[in-house]
Amino acid sequence: MTRKIFMSALLVLAMSASAFGAAFKLGGTAPLTGGAAIYGMAARNGAAIAVEEINAMNGDIQFELRYEDDTHDAEKAVNAYNALKDWGMQISLGSVTSKPCEATAAENFSDRIFALTPSASSAAVTEGKDNVFQMCFVDPNQGTASAQYIGEKGFAKKVAVIWKNDDVYSKGVYDTFIEAAPKYGLEIVSDTTFADGNDTDFSVQLTDAKDKGAELVFLPMYYQPASLILAQAQAMGYAPKWFGIDGMDGILTMEGFDKSLAEGVMLLTPFNADAKDERTVKFVAKYKEKHGEIPNQFAADGYDCVYAFCQALAQAKANPDMNAEELCAKMIEQFTTMTFNGLTGENVRWSSNGEVTKDPKGMVIKNGAYVGLD
């Protein structure tokens, strides 16, 4: 990891050196260290690949990319944001994770710096801010989409939910899932939570789900607690269907994780690294070559963000001499009207409140790899 940080620092240096003057200064904060670093590193690496490709085309649009570490902490994210502002950031990639992005989005709004976050999905990120947009689904949509997917595919009737009640991401998905479930014929038979500090033992939650006959357990959370849940369920001989959301992405890359535990786990994510279209194949190959692993959804989100900016800036005929506020007005105009095709979806559109519309893809883990469900 340290070597990777060093390499990417070199990369950033090389890019800034090659892009004297006429480049848009694009900045973002991400957890590059800490428990959520797997997301931050992926989003950053994805964005860096896009920047490199765009700059190599020698077109009108050139980028200079800079990422600062926020360690998935709101306070540090604001410090990181201020560092980017001092550097002269003109357009922003917000933050990668929800809690920090809520903090930096407020700064983006008051400073009039346009932001497009790759993956901060809580509703509060965009709420009441006309210049903050999301590339990923807003959490509530993930809950609704999951309920719809489970219901329409007929995976289960009786469903258990285990969620993390001190996490806006988990709570946001949970709230809308519960609301949408009856509409799609799902009965919530068990509803249990955990929080930081008691996230090691899940026997109570799993016993509850098992005793009440849940056929499917919905896990709106990040993969680290999910890995414990899967292991403990296996130990107690409980084998329901498992359904996760984008935070589940990454479970297979945990060192030492027994991949057979995740066999059959389904998740809803906008990006499928196995897709056969030309752009995905090219991106996956490039990412693998540079970072030695298959890119997850966060990497694709980061990549798409940079291309969306490229398209919007070209259409608005913007140039790097404009200040952040002028660019902000132009970007708002573009993003509310344009249609974008990216790795994470075709015909991507944004509403004026910054939320994105695109179709989610169902995936299932088979033989230790993600396979498309459809």
């Binding site: 800490g34 670093a37 249990t192 500090g197 090691t200 016993t207 680290q224």
Partner: protein, 293 residues
């Protein structure tokens, strides 16, 4: 039967708290300081064990012994460089230093081993004893943890009450100045306490991660705080108290989750703690010492 199952879960969670609490309480009982870095020494122990077993393919028990050795060295170094210079300082300064040391260890671990969670290979596998036609299962690791806990508890109690070093430790705990006048090397005694506490932390780390296998640089921090709570609950400074406090904390936590609300479990745990401390300010087995003026 569900009740019994929850009880077993509570005991297995509690036994982990207990083994961590033993280290806290021992250091507090003798050096009279709260070593908040204890949880992070546990994390270091778990990482050492993880690398020994997964990367170098050593026998898990050999891994634990290597971890114990390295943690003992780490404990002595931490004591030497961070706490010893503050021997005469007010206890608040030492407390802050301990918190600083905790962050220092976490961040160093972050640099050395990165933040990606690792899955710890259990030292004795993930099997379980099945009772009552398989309706009740007690995992091997729980049994091992309780046995290890009891053994450590008995050995520590004997060590402190019977040996010369143990006597010196008790003397230091009662009055450092007087102990020094009696010819006891106070610094060496306190270093010794830290060495033992850190060695125990390595065992606790291996057991913690065998039971709950994700390993990250922050792995030790929260269980450390919970175990500290358990130590206070049982009466800080009392070795059997730490054991009892740990088990009770685990059982209360699981029962609160199961029968009251999974959302409120921590609130219930701490409410019980407050009530216990109101009734018995020194904790369940703590000695209340009247300060003579």
């Amino acid at each position: 039967m569900t009740f019994l199952n929850f009880f077993i879960s509570g005991i297995s969670l509690g036994s982990i708290y207990a083994i961590i609490a033993l280290g806290y309480t021992m250091v507090y009982g003798i050096a009279k300081m709260l070593n908040f870095a204890h949880g992070d020494v546990i994390m270091v122990g778990a990482y050492v064990c993880f690398y020994a077993v997964s990367r170098y393919g050593l026998n898990p028990f050999l891994g634990v012994i290597i971890a114990m050795f390295l943690c003992t060295v780490l404990g002595i170094l931490v004591e030497r460089f961070a706490y010893k210079p503050l021997r005469q300082a007010p206890s608040l300064a030492v407390l802050i230093t301990a918190i600083g040391m905790s962050y220092f260890l976490q961040n160093t671990a972050l640099l050395l081993w990165s933040s990606n969670p690792k899955v710890f290979p259990s030292i004795i596998g993930r099997g379980a004893f099945k009772l009552f036609d398989g309706n009740l299962s007690v995992s091997h690791i729980t049994v091992l943890t309780i046995v290890v806990c009891l053994v450590i508890m008995i050995v520590l109690t004997l060590f402190i009450s019977k040996t010369r070093v143990g006597k010196a430790m008790r003397a230091c705990s009662e009055d450092k100045g007087a102990a020094q006048l009696m010819g006891i090397n106070v610094n060496a005694t306190i270093s010794m306490t830290f060495a033992i506490g850190s060695g125990l932390a390595a065992i606790a780390g291996a057991l913690l991660c065998s039971a709950y296998p994700t390993l990250m640089p922050t792995t030790g921090a929260l269980p450390g705080i919970k175990a500290f709570t358990a130590a206070v609950f049982g009466g800080i400074g009392s070795i059997p108290g730490a054991f009892l406090g740990g088990l009770m904390l685990g059982v209360i936590e699981i029962f609160a989750k199961a029968y009251i609300s999974s959302q409120l479990s921590d609130a219930v745990v701490f409410a019980v703690l407050i009530i216990v401390l109101l009734v018995k300010p020194a904790g369940l087995l703590g000695k209340s010492i009247q300060e003579k003026v």
